[in-house]
Each structure stands twice: as C-alpha cells, then as structure tokens.
Amino acid sequence: MAKPHNDRAWFLVLPVVALVAFSALIPVMTVVNYSVQDTFGNNQFFWNGTAWFQELLDPSTDLGGRFFDALWRTLLFSGLCLLIEIPLGIAVALTLPRQGWGVAVSLVVLALPLLIPWNVVGTIWQVFGRGDIGLLGAGLQALGINYNYAQNAFDAWATVVAMDVWHWTSLVVLLCYAGLRAIPDAYYQAAKIDGAGAWAIFRAIQLPKMQRVLTIAVLLRFMDSFMIYTEPFVVTGGGPGNATTFLSIDLVKIALGQFDLGKAAAMSIVYNLIILTVCWIFFATTTRGQSEAAQ
C-alpha cells in the first residue's frame, strides 16, 4: 500500500516549534545577541565583536580573573560533592534492608530531602548553622569550636558541601539501591560457594553491576552541583568575600547586579559550553564502554 504524501503534515509540528522557540531558541539567541554587543543603558547597543569572549578567557583581565576563580571554585565544589556523595551513597545503599517493612521506611526517609524545595533547603541550613539559635552552629560553639559560616571561608565551604551532601546523597543511594536490587540471587549464592568475603563480593559483583546506575548518578550529580545556585546563595550569598561565589552566583551578580549584559551573556555561553562538553565526553565514554560490553 502506498503511503499518502502530504506536506501539510508539517503544520502538525508547529506547536512544538513555537514552544521550543519561546522556551529555548529565542532566549538563547537573545543571549548570543547580547554577547557580541555593548550597551551604556537607554536601550542603545553597539557592536562589540568577540571582545567580551577575549576578555572572559584571559585570566589577566578583571572579568577573566573573576571567571576563572569562580570556575575553579565550582569545579572544586562539584569534585568534593562527587567524592563524598558517590562513595557514601554506595555505602548507604549496601546497608539498606533487602526485604521487610524496613525497605519502605528507609526509602521514604531517604527520599524526604529530595522533596524539599531548594530555597527551603538553603534556609534550613542557614538557620541550622547559626551560632545563636542553630542546632549545628550552637552545638559546635558549645563544643568550643569557633564555627561561623558567615565569616570563615572554610566554615562556609564545609556548610555548603555538607548541605549538598545532605540534600543529594539520597539520590545516589536510591539509584544504587535499584542497581543492587536488580542483581539475581544466584550471584550471591555463587559468591558464597566460591568463598567470597564481603569485599570480594563488592568488587566482583556489586560494583560492576552498579556501573550503569553509577554512571547516571555521577552525571546527574555533576550537572546539578556544577550549576548550583539557590542553596549557597541563600546560606552564604557567595561569601564570605567571594569564597563561595560559584559560576552561577557570579553570573547573576554580573548580569543583574552590575547589569553588564554583554559580559554576562558571554560568560553564560561559555558556562553552557563547558557543561555540554563534559556531558558529551561522559556520554561518549560510557556508551563506548557499553557497546564494547555488548559485543
């Protein structure tokens, strides 16, 4: 049977085109537009070429220095989050019960932090860490530790990282738990027969079987932590000084604080490209690993 051919069918995709145009294309092109222009207000724009980009990528300039400082801070933050959350998530997942009423209870309790809105998470930790009324802050003060996230850069970092760990480790746990549950019992029985101890079982069975979910967990946690904004903004506002000013916070400062639309636009494009590149490398390496496995 011949398929009827009618080019008017293209009209059916118009709603999607309109939606994507308004949600993605037009905003992105506006940003691209800003990134090659300069303005002195009054809605008057001048052509600026690639000057913003050159300045941004040159660490000796004011803008470039700021950008690279924030970039290293963000990378350090993402690295710390991954280093803590992934092993911790695996460890917690391994200790969760495999059956009985404990399963439902632990899963619900673990999911709770994931359900809390991000600015609320920030507020919770801001209060939690206060030296006068916060349980954590007052508790540490009582122990004789001079903890103050608003003045001490190390304390601010510790608070922001601890907050992210508290907020997001559950996600890693849930993903790992799903991966662990998918392992057939025969593997554990075979390992018992082969005389494997807990560590050998982990190395030979559990870790390899969790590889796929771990890939997803690492990717999600990298992306989320690399673009983190709300929680540290609420807790530290990027301070003390610029100690916790991550890329996203700096970007908002430039765009909305100083109203330097051109610089901010150039920065957000580079920021976006970094995330895309990392995700692409990640995706490419993992899918290559999997296609090798399938052969």
């Binding site: 025969a186 075979a190 018992k192 030979a204 079987k209 052969q295």
Partner: protein
C-alpha cells in the same frame, strides 16, 4: 569427595502447612552421578540447596562422609554449584573467574594458576583464558561456572541446578557429553537437577525421581523404565509414558471393567485400594487379534509409530509395528513380561 547422607531430612517453609520436602533417609555414594528428576515444584531444588547449605533444613540432618554438616554454612562445605543461569564475574577474565574460589581461600597466584590451567584444559577453555568473561556465549559462561567448581581440588560434590536451561539445543548435547566425560576423569560426586528425563537418564548412574516433595523412586535408568515403583514414575519416564488400566486383580488374572480378562505373569494377593495394570507402550502392540480397541489416531515419532487407542473407554498408547498397516479391526497384543500391578499408585509385588 564425599558420601552424602540424609537422616530424617525434611523442609517446611514458614507459613506453609505442607512439606516442601517430606521426611526421607537416603545415601548418595562417593563419586556417584545422581540426577534429581521431577516436575517444577517437586522439591528437587530445595533438596539441592540443602546439600549446598544455601538452605538450612527445618528437620533432620545432612552428613558428608559421616560428619554432620547440617549447621555448616555453604562456604565451609566444599561444594560447588552451577546455577540455571550462568554466573560469571563480568569484569574479570576467564582466568580470574576460575581462580576466584582459590584466591578467596588464600591460594597463592602460582598455585591457583596451575589448577586453572588444568581445569581450563578439561573444559576446553584453554584458548580463551585471557578474554573477558562477559563477552562469551551462554554455554562458555556455564563452563566457567562449572570450572569454578572443579578448580577446587577438595570439592566434595558438584551440584547442577538445571544447568542447560539457557543453552542452545545443539550445544546442550555437547555440554552433556562433556559433563559425563568429566565425571569419568574427575571422580567427584555430581548431583544434577532437571525436569528433563533425557538429561537425567543420560547423565546419571542413579536417578532420584521426586514428586510433590517426596522421593518416589531411586534407581538406575533401566530400573525406572522396567519397574517403576510408583505410577508417577511410570507416567513421567518414557515417552509416551506407561499406560495404566483400572482393573480388578484376582490371583493371576486381571479383569477390566468391561469384563475382558488378562493373564498376569505373577500371582497377587488381594490388593487394597485403587488397582491398576501398568504396561508400557513398548510392551503393547497393535495386532489383528487380542483385545479389541477403538483407534483414535496414529502418531509418527520418526523411529517408531504410536497408536493412540481406547480400550473400553480408557485411553491407551500402543506400538504400531514397523511396516504394518493399521488393521481394519484393531486389537491389542500385550506382552506379559511388561505387566505390572499397582495398588493406590504403588507397585505391588506378586509371586511367580
């Protein structure tokens, strides 16, 4: 190497009023090849898991060479088990997979390697020792599972839990013969669980037939065929299975409900309960004289033909001799040598 004994062994799962495995006593000789045969849910895997220690029996004891091992965990029992689905450690090479049980028990790398090379030779895995295990086919993976059992020199028994389920039919034959050959080379007790009678009968010296948690017969393949101790064995072994005709038995004579009389090779004392005459299709042929029957259909099995008939309303399978056309008025000729009498499903002993 071990002689495995069971003493009043039974298993009842929590919350279930029935035995998954009914109380039994049995001994499996050292270096024997045993098959546990029965339909799904008959308790054969339960029994196997009790032997390997993955399951602790609710009643009774398990002995290895006279030593009580009931309370010993799997890893201290020196048994190996090959599962239905091949278990290999994905990230390891074949060599590392085979060495895994030895390394876990503290063997040195050199010691382990000698054993691994030896076992790989036995299984025909020598050429692929350094390949990643996850890229192999199901049959090769199953060989690795088996190899992890064989690699330990001290292994008391190797247990197979329907190991050929996921193997391609043309490879099943090869693997089965290799198992048989292995058993000849390595004198170790092998216990093979299956619901496939061909697998059981070709592999084992002794077949343990189970039904509904009960061991109904233990015997050589010939014994199971010639003298099924239970009507279940008669049905289950043989293709098609044994015929059972409801009848009344008086001395040397069986009388069918329709009044036909059949002379029996042995004399029987009065039997209690439901009495049946059992006879395999191999001992019943379609003929021009004998008991008149109604033909339902003829099945061509390739090497032989089976006539499905009705004798007095009771279904019956008989052999249609080679080259013989179906008679216009078909009758049954029964060979007295193959006649057995069952009372309530159990073989009744007659007197010659």
């Amino acid at each position: 190497m071990a002689r495995i004994g069971f003493e009043r062994l039974a298993q009842r799962y929590p919350g279930s009023p029935h035995y998954a495995l009914r109380p039994m006593d049995m001994v499996w000789e050292d270096a024997g090849a045993y098959a546990l045969l029965g339909p799904s849910g008959c308790g054969k895997t339960t029994l196997l898991n009790i032997v390997s220690g993955l399951l602790r029996p609710t009643e009774g004891r398990v002995h290895f060479d006279g030593q009580d091992v009931t309370a010993l965990p799997t890893e201290r029992r020196n048994v190996a088990q090959v599962f239905q689905f091949p278990v290999v450690y994905d990230t390891m090479t074949v060599r590392e997979n085979l060495a895994f049980p030895l390394r876990n028990r503290g063997s040195s790398a050199r010691e382990a390697n000698t054993r691994v090379e030896h076992v790989a030779g036995l299984l025909g895995l020598g050429a692929m020792l350094d390949r990643r295990a996850r890229n192999l086919g199901a049959d090769e993976k199953q060989k690795i599972s088996l190899g992890r059992g064989l690699v330990r020199g001290d292994v008391a028994a190797i247990l197979f839990d329907e190991p050929l389920t996921v193997i391609d039919p043309h490879l099943k034959w090869e693997l089965r013969s290799r198992l048989k050959e292995l058993h000849r080379q390595v004198p170790v007790t092998m216990i093979y669980v299956t619901h496939d009678q061909t697998e059981a009968l070709t592999f084992a010296d002794r077949v343990v037939v189970m039904s509904e948690g009960e061991v109904v017969q233990v015997g050589t393949p010939e014994a199971l065929f010639d003298r099924p101790a239970h009507s279940f064995v008669g049905h289950f072994i043989g293709s098609p299975g044994m015929n059972f005709l409801a009848c009344a038995v008086h001395g040397r004579e069986a009388m069918l409900p329709g009044g036909q009389r059949i002379a029996l090779p042995r004399a029987y004392a009065p039997l209690p309960g439901r009495v049946e005459l059992g006879i395999r299709p191999e001992f019943a042929t379609l003929a021009r004289e004998g008991l008149p029957v109604a033909l339902t259909r003829v099945e061509d099995l390739g090497r032989r033909r089976i006539a499905r008939v009705e004798l007095d309303g009771q279904p019956f399978a008989a052999t249609l001799p080679e080259g013989m056309a179906v008679p216009a008025e078909p009758c049954l000729a029964l060979d007295a040598a193959g006649m057995l009498v069952y009372a309530d499903g159990r073989l009744a002993e007659g007197e010659a």
